[in-house]
Assembly symmetry: C2
Homo-oligomer: 500 residues x 2
Amino acid sequence: MPWLPALDRHAATPLWKQIVDHAVRLADEGNLPSGERLPPSRALAAELGINRSTVCRAYEELAALGYLESRPGSYTTVRGRARPLAARPAAASLLDWNRAMAPDVLDACVSAMRQPRPAVPGDGWIDFSTLSADPDLCPVDDFRRAVRSVLLDQPRSILDYGDSAGYAPLRETLASRMRAHGIAVSPDEVVLTQGAQQGLDLVVRLLARPGAGVAVESPTYALVLPLLRLHGLRAVEIPLGADGMDLDVLESWLEREPPAFVYTMPGFQNPTGLTTTQAHRERLLTLCEMRRVPIVEDGFEEEMKYFGRAVLPLKSMDAHGIVIYVGTFSKVVFPGLRIGWIAAEREFIRRLLWLSRFTSLSGNLLSQAAVERFCHAGRYDGYLRRVHATFRRRMTMLLRSLEKDVGGDRLEWTRPMGGCTLWARVPGGRREDERALVDAAASERLAITPGSPFFATPPDQLAFRVSIAHVKVHEIEDGCRRLRRALARLTTRGEVRRAR
Amino acid sequence: MPWLPALDRHAATPLWKQIVDHAVRLADEGNLPSGERLPPSRALAAELGINRSTVCRAYEELAALGYLESRPGSYTTVRGRARPLAARPAAASLLDWNRAMAPDVLDACVSAMRQPRPAVPGDGWIDFSTLSADPDLCPVDDFRRAVRSVLLDQPRSILDYGDSAGYAPLRETLASRMRAHGIAVSPDEVVLTQGAQQGLDLVVRLLARPGAGVAVESPTYALVLPLLRLHGLRAVEIPLGADGMDLDVLESWLEREPPAFVYTMPGFQNPTGLTTTQAHRERLLTLCEMRRVPIVEDGFEEEMKYFGRAVLPLKSMDAHGIVIYVGTFSKVVFPGLRIGWIAAEREFIRRLLWLSRFTSLSGNLLSQAAVERFCHAGRYDGYLRRVHATFRRRMTMLLRSLEKDVGGDRLEWTRPMGGCTLWARVPGGRREDERALVDAAASERLAITPGSPFFATPPDQLAFRVSIAHVKVHEIEDGCRRLRRALARLTTRGEVRRAR
């Protein structure tokens, strides 16, 4: 039976993907005749000695790729699929793209992206790396209902161009949700963006003065660094202490030169999970007001507080309109819908709308309307309660298990009040061992995110990010034990060198 | 009954919108108590002496805004709706945004956008202005089925982050659709974008060398002009003849300075509707190959040819990888989903993917997958046939009616082979009369798009664009008669001055 792939249980490629690749190869070589009946998933699973859900996932993917078809009440069969003609063999381009594309700054951005990259988790792995809404928590049925109701009630308007600012009822919803965090904005002061990343790009475009510095926490969100560079800005790294960026360092730097803006994630910071205090926020705001420096507040997980008392966003205290707030749904729910937003002072919004019109006309109305419907029906609040309960359990388990299964002598870590990540550091460890640590973890089938990419100039330390976004609570202890073994492996091989 | 608004049939605001505004005002003032029963649409329509569909549209909008609720089998009632707190009174901002936002180039872009703007059509108007897919043709049911099947088959993967390149099966579909136009690209050479506008922005970002010139047709797509300016580029306008941009002029300019790129819309050009010949395309390509200048080919209506023989896109003859092809669905179907794409040489695509990752991570997977499903099921081809038949009838009627009801002595116009627009010019008319012409048409309740915004430096002529995208075939004769009256009104009042 040509359907029997040779599976490699230890490969980085997950088993379901190996099945898919195998079938695609057969089909493309013409060895999987159209109309051929597929073995039932249960039978194939038994034959291969793997989980049936793995086979189902592979079949689902093959169907999505157009290689299978199934009729209700019948077998699934191989689909006769028109393959694209072989593309023309690449002639040497007449153009030197390096010259044609002037912004070689892009190449500089790419090459400045720090190594190592995290390993990609496969079957049997524990994923302490991924940071985005957990698909297993995704309220699929509620969302399906929201989409359906939008497409029944107002299909034509929703499939037509919308306003550059985004679907008005969702802007109203967001404005009123932000009020729950003390931010008083009207819907007119809210603009929807294609996720927070496009929001940041638009904001940086508006605030960029090439050559100017931008104060960022150190470490900071990895993908903001190439974005700043792309716009000719310098990241000025302000050390991050237990209570956020060191404001004394910031203040003395602000005295020396006027920056383009300050970029901060005051809550559940990515990567450290740290949340700044009310007092820290007030002083940061005052410093920037005195120097008339805009603050870009990345509230990417504003609604993910599940321990302790709420701290108000900077934007809520922004009496002078210097704070530009960037929000997103993607870390909580539906990252694939790419819904983020910006709340800012009217003059800023006015320009933002023009920029947004010139560069993308308008956003995806269907998704905006479906999310509005989802929030409106109270589904979002219910979902948020479930997510909080889940993440509270995961974070509690992680903190407990790090203590119990790894231990404070081998590792130091932060204690987040919410969100999905914490930051861990090997005492006395050195940066040159980062690749070895990621590899040691990978050989335990554990994915962690190495620390260097979160710095423009990484310090000589051995640190990494642990995310609970995609890990189940029952996997966490096992994950921590794998982490201990990975750390032990490094130490045994004498690979952890001590920093000076 | 507080529900009875005073309607103004001659206002620019359509009747349904007047009803909505009236109800929102009442509700926000507290004069529409929660739970109050709405008059049935039929009764309200009779009472106001208007069409019932107008009332239904108003009710639909009010429901979307959250002001109404209806339960199956019951009356529609007013919904108790939490209004956002009044926003904080705007304090004078501490920041001088003009200084904080360095790119005052944005303001320059905005102020350089040419006047006059077209009038916004209301009830009873004939719309010769709007250019986007006709919502009345929108295959809503088929699309609803496509969304439903995607959300049933692969909800979790579709609501999670996707690849920066976009949903792979849709890239395959596009690659194979482009083959029908002679373009041999592999799915790896296709990147999905948030409509053609974001595609253009990405392309311009990659090709921009501040200060460099970009050759554009004159007239050209209005929104490409501010986009070029935003990136510090100069639009160099090459006159457009009956067979596309004047290649002698282009050639002599290319000899003088190396441009960043050439931007062209070879088919059904916006605004003129002109399609260049095969010979023109070959010469344009050769000129650019000789000078090693990239061509950005905007194939925004590639699939909208409904008269005469097909002409191959430039990209299909691009043996040396100098053509960057920008495509979109928005002029044919589902503009609100914002699905466009770029097909180009691999080295360009490699950079594009990085840029796209830095600036938006990924696109909207749900819409991409739904469109793929829609195309895959053969619905798109069926839809396209219906659209072609409809537009062929509309364009035939328009050309006939211009001849019969306006006449060649009053107006000259292009004869498009497809697409949605034609370009009309008043013989001997002058640009200073443009506002008067738009107003004269508006007083006939006819919306046309004035010509100036399609030029960086508008010539002294009186021209405008006529679009059939949103006009019904039975409205076209009436539209042309209104146009004749508008032209006559200008002439009678002596407002058409003769150009030197």
